[in-house]
């Protein structure tokens, strides 16, 4: 407790005069939100499937299953071949995870995902590849709009996912697929 006390006490002698909170008032770009979203998603190395919806996704999933892949689906209406495991660690051999996104952000291609729909929190990271399902009507213009719409209740975890995992730590060469998913396909519904 005393360290807390010391730190808070020390803050009382800070030298800068109190500043007020600025108003965050930035006008969003609202033309062609889906088009903007698609362009941004491409920039972050993801792919958007505008047409075909869940049926197209299921066909894709079936094809992968036929090839012997392990697929877990957290989306109603899409069937994989794996169930939620007892422990997070048991997801280590998942090839594809199908999960629902709560909203998409046009300016950067990010999709908000909440742990309520993940089974284990690690699902979107531990899978080799990721399928995200997104309602077209949930795409917002920018992060300011997203911030006011995302839900994050007490105890929850949520994340903006913008593309597959990537790194450029070896000589600045972009490599897609670091620790998380190696590819990201987004299906609009």
């Amino acid at each position: 407790m005393s360290s807390k006390h010391d730190i808070l006490n020390a803050l009382k002698s800070a030298a800068i005069a109190p500043q007020s909170m600025p108003v965050i008032d930035i006008s969003p770009r609202i033309d062609d939100l889906i088009g903007q979203f698609e362009t941004s998603l491409n920039t972050v190395a993801g792919t958007l499937h505008r047409e075909g919806g869940l049926a197209k996704l299921q066909a894709q999933v079936d094809e992968h299953i036929a090839q012997g892949m392990q697929i877990i689906s957290m989306v109603d209406g899409v069937k994989g071949n794996r169930e939620v495991t007892d422990t997070a660690h048991q997801l280590r051999d998942i090839d594809y995870a199908v999960i629902p996104g709560d909203l998409g952000v046009a300016e950067n291609g990010a999709i908000w995902v909440n742990n309520k729909n993940l089974g284990h929190r690690v699902t979107p990271f531990i899978c080799e590849n990721l399928f995200l399902v997104l309602k077209a009507s949930t795409i917002v213009a920018n992060m300011h709009q997203a911030a006011s719409r995302i839900t994050l209740e007490s105890g929850e975890f949520g994340t903006f996912i913008a593309g597959p995992s990537k790194t450029a730590d070896i000589e600045q060469a972009l490599v897609v697929g670091a620790h998380g998913a190696c590819s990201l396909n987004v299906y609009l519904v």
């Binding site: 020390a10 803050l11 109190p18 500043q19 909170m21 280590r92 992060m143 300011h144 730590d169 620790h179």
Partner: protein
């Protein structure tokens, strides 16, 4: 006076500069990031507005920090997050070790945190028998190489792919001579997966701590923070007191500028919000001061706490690009490293690792007035009688000399004549460090004063 001549910035930079082609390569790699940043910034019409809001929002938070820290703590507790306070690095490390010891942790996976570097946490935990695995690829590379980070966002920027290949061959058993980044990254992926899956606890840094939610935000491109934190049941987050923001709206402003300014990406791949532990797990947040409240006592230094660690100022800095991250005598190099590290710099030389060109202040997404802060540090060093070796002896004389018009005019005309008639080789030694990598100037025929009298006077 400097403690040891060998450690001053200029000397360490000289070591880096020995390999000229490497310097060019290093400078180019970073300039590429600066160009990407310019494109990303340029594509947002509201960029300048975002910088302004970011700056004001951070200043607002810093000037109400006590209140926000308490609010943050209370909300964390409501979310079942355990909060700890540490005055300095020693206390931070002790707290971390206590938590880990209580859970008998043998292996900790860590995602990039400059704060734990600042606290020298890894060696401390290793001494106590805990294996610490850095999981960001760049961090893992330098950890395997036994080096500290040379950049805050791209910590292994100084290494070439062949060097990484040799290192991985040695430590991870990759093919000899292999240097393909894709191949090496895949090898690291496999190696680190095993670490994530066998770790007993995870630790991450914090990009933003949201006061009104009691949540922390962690941004990575690789997903290592999330692979770490979401596998073992025990997760720890270390944060400086300067990471607070009032609410999600403010976090959104910074999320718009952070990655754009760091690498030119519209946002990092993962921007994760943790508002409580996973089911049956434990989540700890360690709030660290370690000199930050001291900086807040100085009006000018205080503004350096607005920094969001994007690394943009490093990428643009002409001195950093050509002297490398290891020349700064502090964990954080570059302009922001000078701003936050000068007071601990026993060589008293890093405030001079700067041309005061101001490029860093211009790119900073929260408008940290870096050149002003660096200039201020020079003054503080001078006032404390700690000018670096060389400068201490002549700077006071320069002041007197420049103040005397006769002395200045007279010696300037001597210098002009000397520059015209004496060979460069004879004069160069007199120019000291300045002339080492520069040609001497061509002397004008007359002084500016004489020219002014004749033409304008």
């Amino acid at each position: 006076m400097s403690t040891s001549n060998s450690a001053v910035h200029a000397h360490k930079a000289e070591i880096f500069c020995k390999d000229e082609s490497r310097v060019d390569w290093h400078s180019k790699a970073l300039w590429l990031l600066r160009e990407k940043r310019d494109r990303a910034a340029g594509s947002l019409p509201e960029w300048e507005q975002l910088r302004q809001i970011g700056s004001e929002m951070k200043l607002h938070t810093l000037t109400h920090l006590g209140q926000y820290l308490e609010e943050f703590e209370q909300n964390c507790i409501k979310n079942n997050i355990q909060v700890h306070w540490a005055r300095d690095g020693v206390e931070h490390n002790r707290i971390v070790h206590e938590i880990l010891a209580k859970h008998q942790v043998k292996k900790l996976v860590k995602s990039k945190s400059m704060l734990t570097e600042e606290c020298h946490m890894n060696p401390y935990l290793e001494q106590h028998g805990i294996e610490v695995i850095d999981t960001d690829l760049g961090e893992r590379i330098i950890q395997l190489a036994g080096q500290p980070p040379s950049h805050i966002v791209v910590p292994a920027i100084h290494l070439k792919k062949e060097e990484v290949g040799d290192l991985f061959h040695d430590k991870l058993g990759t093919d000899a001579g292999a240097s393909d980044p894709l191949y090496l990254t895949r090898a690291a992926r496999a190696h680190l997966r095993e670490q994530f899956l066998s770790a007993d606890a995870a630790m991450t840094g914090v990009n933003m701590a949201i006061a009104d939610k009691g949540a922390v935000v962690v941004c990575t491109n690789e997903g290592n923070a999330d692979m770490g934190a979401n596998l073992p049941k025990l997760q720890l987050h270390s944060m400086g007191i300067d990471k607070l923001v009032p609410n999600i709206d403010s976090a959104a402003v910074l999320l718009r500028t952070l990655a754009r300014n760091a690498t030119g990406q519209p946002i990092t791949t993962y921007s994760s919000f943790y508002r409580g532990p996973q089911d049956g797990g434990e989540m700890h947040v360690i709030i660290v001061d370690n000199g930050r409240t001291d900086m807040l006592k100085d009006k000018i230094l205080a503004e350096s706490l607005k920094c969001i660690r994007c690394g943009g100022c490093l990428n643009t800095c002409p001195v950093y690009r050509r002297s490398g991250g290891y020349s700064y005598n502090y964990t954080i190099p570059g302009p922001i490293g000078i701003a936050v590290g000068s007071q601990r710099d026993d060589t008293n030389s890093i405030p001079w690792a700067c041309t005061l060109c101001g490029s860093c202040s211009y790119v900073c997404p929260t408008k940290v007035p870096l050149d002003k802060i660096i200039h201020h540090h020079r003054r503080l060093k001078a006032e404390a009688g700690k000018l670096p070796y060389g400068k201490a002896s002549y700077m006071p004389l320069v002041g007197k000399f420049m103040a005397s018009e006769t002395a200045l005019n007279c010696s300037m005309s001597v210098a002009r004549i000397a520059l015209r008639i004496l060979p460069g080789s004879l004069l160069k030694p007199f120019s000291g460090a300045w002339g080492k990598y520069r040609e001497l100037p061509v002397a004008p025929n007359s002084s500016f004063e004489a020219w002014f009298k004749k033409n304008r006077g």
